[in-house]
Symmetry: C2
Subunit: 334 residues, 2 copies
């Protein structure tokens, strides 16, 4: 493993992005998004995915030099066309606009069509919380999960994000709707380990904890069986209808995963806090969650965002452990 | 089992509601909500819960003769105080208002504090879809589920609803964030059956499919383990902060489950459909989901709302099977 500082990561990402054709401003923003995800411990959507991200541009799926265009404006709701631009740039732009709308009138919603893969969804939750907004975001994906009762992938694992700002550190949930991600299963397979719970089916249709069997069958289990399955279908409907964009079905007809549909909903926490109870209410909820006995003696009870903040703090101090091959491949580009 | 027609159900509910002190208009609406949930097959939140609902009023937890009051108006967002009025009346009112706001300017959001238990959450999803709106609704509950890693109930199973209107029949997801409901587990225990998947813990902390063991330990499993756990905490934060209402923690301090916090978000499907693609996109998604091979040969692939519509059609035609004791208890009241 290579031990890399956050600043070094930024430097390498910026250089490669600039060489690929990003403007200086775009490269700075995109490098920060990839470095933050890496420092937060989401390497699969950070440094480990950077090479794939660059390839979607050089392969011509994701476009440079395009600007999002507004197609519909209805007060607090706007629809934008991302014109197949870089996913993180499009998503950051859309969240910024949802934040602006929320600051104007309490609530703001941006639906984006022709976005691209936004990498780590949590990025936009932290962005909203940092700007003092409570936020909900959704994206669809290519078909990568069979719905409950289906044998083949007919829906996406369509991630959803919910974020709440808090002085001591924001609370951010970032979850996809499969029980385990492909990245997690690949990691466990490499380590020769089983999944801690059933995560999909064998080719014969039996539930299994064997990551290789699931990677081979491509039959991931929706989180909570029929529940995550239903939610994934509704998330696809929501993002596709609000953006008038590509559905998971349509994305599945293309040769790569791009042109996704996304929705960003923001509430200005300041205007919601008209009776000055925000901090008291957040503390009340988090204290209640964390104050009961843990299952394991001496254990701690975590909540969404709490572990991310700890990892970030440690990685910013100590540097980040990155797979040698991944790091050397990036260094070879500059 | 008693075989009861929809109209007879309405008649009995209305009589009891009027006798309890509801106005004629309130009794008609409330009776329809309970009868619809029953006809849709959700007896646990329909006829089987009617007696408990009436008791929350006669016990003085839920108030009659109150009107919701607007406490904050910010364009497309409004906060209302339900003043501990009847849950279904408050929720129906809030969704109607969210629909009005959405019809005015594309998007509408109502946050309600001091609501009460809204019974079946799907009611308000069908209501929105029937009015031509795409909707998201959330509620919190009393603490009834341990978060991931916790030994005692420190969060709620906080249901969420997503609804999409469609000519052939609306698509409505209504899910709570525990893997199984108390109602489902009680039913399986009575029938001497195990849960189809692990649904909670024994008193010794082992995952189990035995409904009695879970009902005894009160340690329900969140849907999708850590995922439903995280989402339940964020739903509680969302509804509590937007409504400035009671959190699950606060509800747990009271002697009954009332005064809940709820959020209703609506999008006017007509204004979202500026390029006239709504029907085409919904069909594209649903056809893609249902057209792949099912796991079981000869099986069908369902999606949220499809089975509800079938049950409703059959029950309206054939009448509804109701437990004799439940039905006789209601008849004894009139």
């Amino acid at each position: 493993m290579a031990l890399v500082t956050y600043n070094k990561l930024i430097e390498v990402f910026e250089q490669i992005l600039t060489d690929t054709g990003f403007t200086k401003t775009e490269a700075e923003l995109c490098a920060k998004i990839f470095a933050d995800s890496t420092a937060d411990g989401y390497l699969s959507h950070g440094v480990n995915r950077f090479e794939v991200f660059i390839n979607t541009i050089t392969d011509g799926y994701v476009q440079l030099g395009v600007e999002p265009e507004r197609e519909l404006a209805l007060g607090s709701f706007e629809r934008w066309n991302g014109k197949l631009g870089a996913g993180p740039l499009n998503a950051d732009f859309s969240m910024k606009r949802a934040i602006e709308l929320a600051k104007e009138s309490g609530i703001g919603c941006v639906a984006l069509r022709n976005g691209s893969h936004w990498m780590r969804g949590g990025t936009y939750g932290w962005q909203a919380a940092e700007a003092g907004c409570i936020a909900l975001c959704f994206t669809n994906t290519m078909p990568n999960m069979p719905s409950w009762g289906a044998k083949e992938a007919n829906t996406g694992n369509n991630p959803l994000i919910v974020a709440v700002p808090q002085e001591e550190g924001h609370i951010v949930l970032d979850m996809s709707l499969s029980q385990f991600s492909y990245g997690k299963m690949q990691q466990l397979e490499m380590d020769g380990k089983d999944l801690p719970f059933t995560g999909g089916y064998t080719a014969e249709g039996e539930l299994t904890t064997n990551p290789k069997a699931i990677l081979d069958s491509k039959r991931l289990l929706p989180t909570g069986y029929w529940k995550g399955s239903g939610l994934s279908i509704l998330v696809d409907l929501l993002v596709t209808l609000l953006s008038s964009g590509k559905s998971t079905a349509k994305i599945g007809e293309m040769e790569a995963e791009y042109g996704l549909s996304q929705v960003f909903i923001c509430f200005d926490a300041k205007q919601m806090n008209s009776d000055n109870r925000h901090k008291e209410l957040v503390d009340e909820i988090i204290n209640h969650v964390t104050s009961v006995a843990p299952v394991k003696e001496g254990g701690t009870i975590e909540y969404p965002g709490s572990q991310t903040r700890k990892r970030r703090e440690q990685n910013m101090k100590d540097g980040i452990q990155i797979n040698d091959e991944v790091w050397n491949t990036l260094l070879a580009r500059i």
